[in-house]
Amino acid sequence: MKFYVGIVLWLLSAVPLAAEELKLAVTTSFANSGLAEILLPAIAEGTGIDVQLLIVGTGQALKLGEAGDVDAVLVHSRAAEEEFVASGFGTHRREIMYNDFIIVGPTDDPANVGLATLATEAFAHIAGAQAPFVSRGDDSGTHKKELGLWKAAGIEPTGDWYRAVGQGMGAALNTASGMDAYILADRASWLNFGNKGDLTQLFGGDPALFNQYAYIPVNPALHPHVKAVAAERLEVWLTSDRARALIEGYTIEGQQLFVFNAER
């Protein structure tokens, strides 16, 4: 019996007690961009906070915040974020930076997406040609953006050509690559993606495709255990000049990925 009690104590003792660990739920698109690998060491150096990233979709990130399982979230879906703060789960919403989405598709471009001038027009081309399109289908920020674009284009995406995979950005890109399908991806994930196959970037640059990231600390009034002080120090750092330099200086294949736009 003593033995089993010992095991329970041992399991409990494995709980990290270090004061300066902070759990931050971020989106797959942010994590896949590789920017985290630049920012995290700089954050540790500048603030002493060891940020532990939970890489999930925006929907799940906000759920983690609601339950108090993370101390703050960094996500990109404005409507859902504002609702999150309005419901009292977060203290406030602070815009940090934006990147943009692009439309990726097969090189021969059967739906002539490359000829479009607007994102909605490109989507209309895909629907018109009934060309295979892979949707994230996972309630993530990217998925919500995609649904918003279909709506703006006045199209209800249904049919054999529209394939919702219900997975993260990488898995969805793998699926698109395997099926030679069109897909809406964030620029960073695409540039870092290692299995491009016959896919290529066909459309980008429309301001409708901009993707705003915002930082929301979880409300300590609701969850007294969250590390509110550390979350605030992280926010100060994320909006600092040091953060601006690192975020804007981050490039892949010569392309700048993020634009810092935190108001101070």
Binding site: Q52, L54, A67, G170, F193, G194, N195
Partner: protein, 234 residues
């Protein structure tokens, strides 16, 4: 095919250069799964023996139930443990979610039925041989269980290793309860899932080969240490 060859070369490179990240996640894989296997064995080996020597009304049902639980979907176990350990769940105050402890708990739940079922089967056969002797010596129930566990140790090692094998390659549950946090809860299987998501198939495969090699090494080491294949013992 090309990815497989690149994967093998990459695996070799990672091992030969003693890549620090690889060593870190491999050790964490071992830490989680070895802990889970030890805890699950401590629960299920005595349980298997107890089920073998006791006759009670619900015995058949309990055994059938244990056998059925061998097929527990890890993702469901993960979700259950997650809901229990979440800050808004009943055990939330422990703050165990997204720690290696949570991963160990999930794996213990997954492999306990496997070890219990296999050890029950092995001990039942041993009990048929030992029954008359142990009864005539007027042994207590606990003494019988101890005797059976000791004399059946080789078969029980196999039972524990079956549990280890299931746990070391498991990804569904530990991804959910551990969160795949770099330098905290990332292990070989979740790293493989992550690299696959990034389209880095060669690196993902390399980690896969290393995972397989690790499982083989652990099994070999245990068999050598316990001398199960001594030539004098047929």
């Amino acid at each position: 095919m090309n990815d497989i060859l690149t994967g093998m070369a990459e695996a070799l490179r990672l091992i030969l250069t003693l890549d620090p990240t690889l060593i870190e996640i491999s050790l964490r894989s071992l830490e989680v799964t070895v802990s889970a296997t030890i805890i699950a064995s401590l629960i299920s080996l005595p349980l298997g023996a107890w089920l073998a020597i006791n006759r009670f009304r619900a015995r058949r049902f309990v055994i059938a139930f244990l056998n059925a639980l061998m097929g527990l979907p890890p993702v469901v176990v993960g979700l259950l443990v997650y809901v229990l350990l979440s800050r808004s769940g009943p055990l939330g105050v422990l703050g165990l979610l997204f720690t290696t402890s949570a991963m160990i708990i999930a794996q213990v739940i997954i492999i306990t039925p496997i070890i219990a079922s296999i050890s029950h089967q092995a001990i039942r056969e041993l009990w048929a041989d030992y029954h008359d002797l142990l009864i005539s010596l007027n042994t207590t129930r606990w003494q019988r269980i101890k005797a059976l566990l000791w004399d059946g140790r080789r078969a029980l090692l196999t039972a524990s290793l079956a549990g280890f094998g299931r746990a070391i390659g498991e990804v569904g549950a530990i991804m959910i309860v551990g969160g795949n946090i770099d330098h905290a809860t990332r292990v070989l299987t979740t790293a493989i899932a992550l690299e696959t998501g990034k389209g880095n198939f060669a690196l993902a495969l390399a980690l896969g080969f290393i995972l397989i090699a690790l499982a083989v090494v652990v099994n070999l080491a245990l068999h050598l240490l316990s001398k199960t294949e001594r030539s004098s013992l047929w």
